[in-house]
């Protein structure tokens, strides 16, 4: 993460801006996973208004949800990193703080700006923003009957540091690098002493502050396995919004509402049954027949049909999901800007929106996503025009180009797009070999940054260009598969940390878009809308801005 590891000056005046940026890496890591799992998660949804009665008492409703794959592991610290797992963690681990909910139009979305305590009593900083104090509620219990206390928090954080994985990685951003920075004050109080103040502490802790039942865990720890890895790989954690009633590996997970949740927004459904159904067509059949209530693994091709299917409704909304082709600017032939421009003219934008998304996507004419402050189409010259593409190539002294277009082997959507792009690029003299890659190979090649062309689909969790630059267009940024570096962009990026005035920032972003339009590291195809097919009786969907469904809001009236 070199792009994010600049030392934070203590007491920096531009704390708020910086926070927006630095949330980046923690969030970007989840964002990219979303891509890898080939999901169609989206943001900014307007779900139908749900009757979310206040009060934590779980209703009697039961829900059945189909997912495409089983989670890889229950151990969030050491191994679990697939989308199903991350989603389940949000629902079964007790997270001390989480995003709030806000209404947009008729629907509800998670509010990443309003982070509030859930299982905790409070989480507040001292005057210097350096020492944060977590106060636990009294009487909160794990399924074992053990009370959640400060020692559980301490043990969980020690474990996270020992794992040297996700949490330890994002904690670096807020100056937490050693286990002894987390200290127990009394049974219900823990302090986090950061090396420097940071305004993004809340954001980072929202995704990191989950707690294990340490007393139970210690029973299963051994000298060889002090962190009970083996136990937690197989046994779900307890104490979250839901407890795992039953988990049949590879097949089914039954969640029951945790009646002991101390807050006011407890689970609306008393039981949620998740079944693994790999084939999308089977999920569709089951949804149509009313054998499941929510289908999390249905692809774009079925959405149109399902909209007119009796008993089924499709929760639909414009989304911040961005579909792009990233071109490696350091790999031939795309190291030549003329070739990149030619490709940008050879992509059949409208045809992709019409054929792949049935018109259910928004055309985008900038690398800055639609709805992001600063979005501007000025200076973006690319539209589908084969003659222009040929001309551009010819002007650069090239008549034919061969290269490789990489996409995820399990994504039908990407495969369809790849086929369309290949067909049109050929007309412009660009011959592309289609290379579907499995997750392991894709991960390896991305780490080596040697993929000339790749299709990516993902969303930015923070609606800000500075954040976007930090994750995607600066040196070493984790999502910068293009290997794109531009000195002026780097300069603007640095400069923007301290620029607070929106108009000033807008000016910077205009320049950024001009540069990126000229350099074209990405071909921006479109922003497909978010679609989730559910049974008519399902209510309460809250659009997760991180793509990880909070099942506690869902209920079914049937």
């Amino acid at each position: 993460m070199p792009g994010f590891s600049r030392p934070n000056g203590p007491g920096s005046p531009a704390l708020s801006r910086r926070s927006v940026l630095q949330l980046g890496s923690g969030v970007a890591l989840l964002l990219a996973t979303g891509c890898a799992a080939g999901t169609t998660g989206g943001g900014g949804s307007t779900a139908p208004a749900a009757s979310t009665a206040p009060g934590g008492a779980p209703a009697a409703s039961k829900l059945r949800i189909a997912v495409s794959s089983y989670l890889s592991s229950w151990d969030q610290d050491f191994v679990g990193f697939d989308l199903t797992a991350l989603m389940l963690y949000k629902n079964v681990f007790p997270y001390m703080i989480d995003y709030g909910v806000t209404s947009v139009g008729a629907g509800q979305i998670l509010d990443t700006e309003a982070i509030a305590p859930t299982f905790a009593e409070s989480f507040e900083p001292d005057a210097d923003n350096k020492v944060w104090t977590l106060k636990l509620r009294k009487g909160v219990k794990f399924a074992s009957g053990n009370e959640m206390t400060a020692k559980d928090v301490k043990w969980s954080k020690d474990r996270a540091f020992a794992a040297k994985a996700n949490v330890a990685g994002v904690y670096r951003l807020i100056g937490l690098t050693k286990a002894d920075q987390v200290e127990v004050v009394d049974d219900y109080t823990v302090t986090f002493t950061q090396a420097f103040p940071s305004a993004l502490t809340r954001q980072i802790q929202a995704i990191s502050l989950y707690v294990f039942d340490s007393e139970e865990a210690k029973k299963h720890a051994t000298d060889a396995d002090p962190w009970a890895k083996e136990w937690f790989a197989k046994n779900p954690p307890t104490g979250g919004y839901f407890n795992v009633e039953k988990a049949v590996q590879g097949q089914e997970i039954v969640l029951t509402a945790n009646a002991g949740y101390p807050g006011t927004d407890g689970a609306k459904s008393s039981e949620i049954r998740l079944s693994v159904v790999p084939a999308a067509s089977n999920q569709r059949l089951q949804l149509q027949n009313g054998d499941i209530d929510v289908a999390l693994g249905i692809g774009q091709r079925d959405i149109k049909d399902l909209k007119s299917t009796k008993g089924v409704k499709v929760i639909s909304a414009p989304s911040n999901n961005q579909l792009v082709i990233q071109m490696s600017v350091t790999t031939a032939p795309f190291d030549d800007p003329a070739v990149r421009k030619a490709l940008a003219h050879a992509v059949p934008y409208e045809q992709i929106i019409a054929n792949v998304y049935g018109g259910d996507a928004r055309a985008a004419k900038s690398v800055v996503p639609l709805d992001m402050p600063g979005y501007s189409e000025t200076g973006y010259p690319y539209a589908y025009d084969v003659a222009k593409a040929k001309e551009t190539l010819a002007a650069a002294g090239k008549t034919s180009i061969t290269s490789e277009l990489v996409f995820q082997t399990d994504s039908e959507e990407q495969q369809q797009i790849a086929v369309l792009v290949q067909s049109e690029a050929r007309k412009a003299g660009i011959e592309l070999k289609l290379t579907p890659l499995d997750p392991a190979t894709l991960g390896e090649r991305r780490a080596k940054k040697n993929i000339p062309l790749q299709i990516t689909l993902g969303q930015l969790w923070v609606n800000d260009v500075e954040y976007m630059l930090g994750t995607s267009f600066t040196k070493g940024a984790s999502l910068n598969y293009s290997n794109y570096v531009n000195p002026e962009i780097e300069k603007i990026f640095e400069e923007s940390h301290t620029v607070v005035d929106p108009a000033e920032r807008a000016k910077l972003w205009l320049r950024v878009q001009e540069i990126l339009a000229e350099d074209v590291p990405w071909v921006v195809i479109c922003q497909p809308n978010f679609n989730l097919p559910v049974r008519e009786e399902v209510a309460g969907w809250v659009q997760p801005m991180d793509g990880l469904a909070r099942l506690r809001y869902l209920s079914s009236s049937s």
């Binding site: 084939a279 999308a280 067509s281 569709r284 059949l285 692809g299 091709r301 079925d302 049909d305 059949p348 045809q351 019409a354 054929n355 082997t409 399990d410 039908e412 495969q415 369809q416 790849a418 086929v419 369309l420 290949q422 067909s423 289609l434 290379t435 579907p436 499995d438 190979t441």
Partner: protein
Amino acid sequence: MAEASGVREAGADRRFASSLITVGSVILAVVAVAVLFAPLLSSWGPEEIDPLASLAPPGGAHLLGTDLNGMDVWSRVLHAARLDVGIAVAAVALAVVAGSLVGLVAGYRGGWADDVLMRVLDVFQAFPTFILALAVAALLGGGTANLIAVIALVNAPAYARLVRAEVRSIRELPFVEASRTSGSSFWGVLWRHVLPNSLTPVRVIAPLNCGWAMLTLAGLSFLGLGVPLPTAEWGAMISLGSGDVVAGRWWTSVPPGLFLLICVLGFSLLGEGLQERADSTRR
């Protein structure tokens, strides 16, 4: 029934065998026509995209409609025959040659060479077909030549065994024995005497195997490890179209499924007929 004489059955079986062979050959001949004249039989190219029609139903400009990508199903089904039959036949031919060689050497030499070769074959046979195919496909990539190699590798041990068994029974026959003691070279004896005799069972099995090879190829494509799109291939077409069936759009997966079935059936009938003929002759 009990009163039916063995002679009558054998006669009837031979006639039935002939008709199986005939039907199988006719099917394969029709497939051959498709293979040769596919471009003439369809007005669309197999990878040509109709920008106005994705999942268009049969009729109109597209005889069998279009698939998700807007490609003409009829044209793709026809053109796929080339690739599917080509890969299957090439793979089986390779398997026969490679397997026979190994079998010949093992059966003729006997001794430790035989032991070692047989254990190696055991290893490959015990190795789960699909994992082996998947691993090799992942290793080499999904190109045509690699798929031929994968399928040949999976099939070769059976031929090796078959030929080895025949060679061992032939080896002791007087004329082979004679030429051996008369000092003919090792390969000379193999080539002139042992090989022709031992290939009889191979001829019977090979057509059946071609059908099976096509199914393996289709299965690999279904799992995304066959020929990459947009190349027309039946398994990949079925895979892509499988999601349409639930929506009532049968035309994307049923035609390739049927063509595959009929083509494999052609091979099976031919193989069955040949086997039947061999069986009844033996009786």
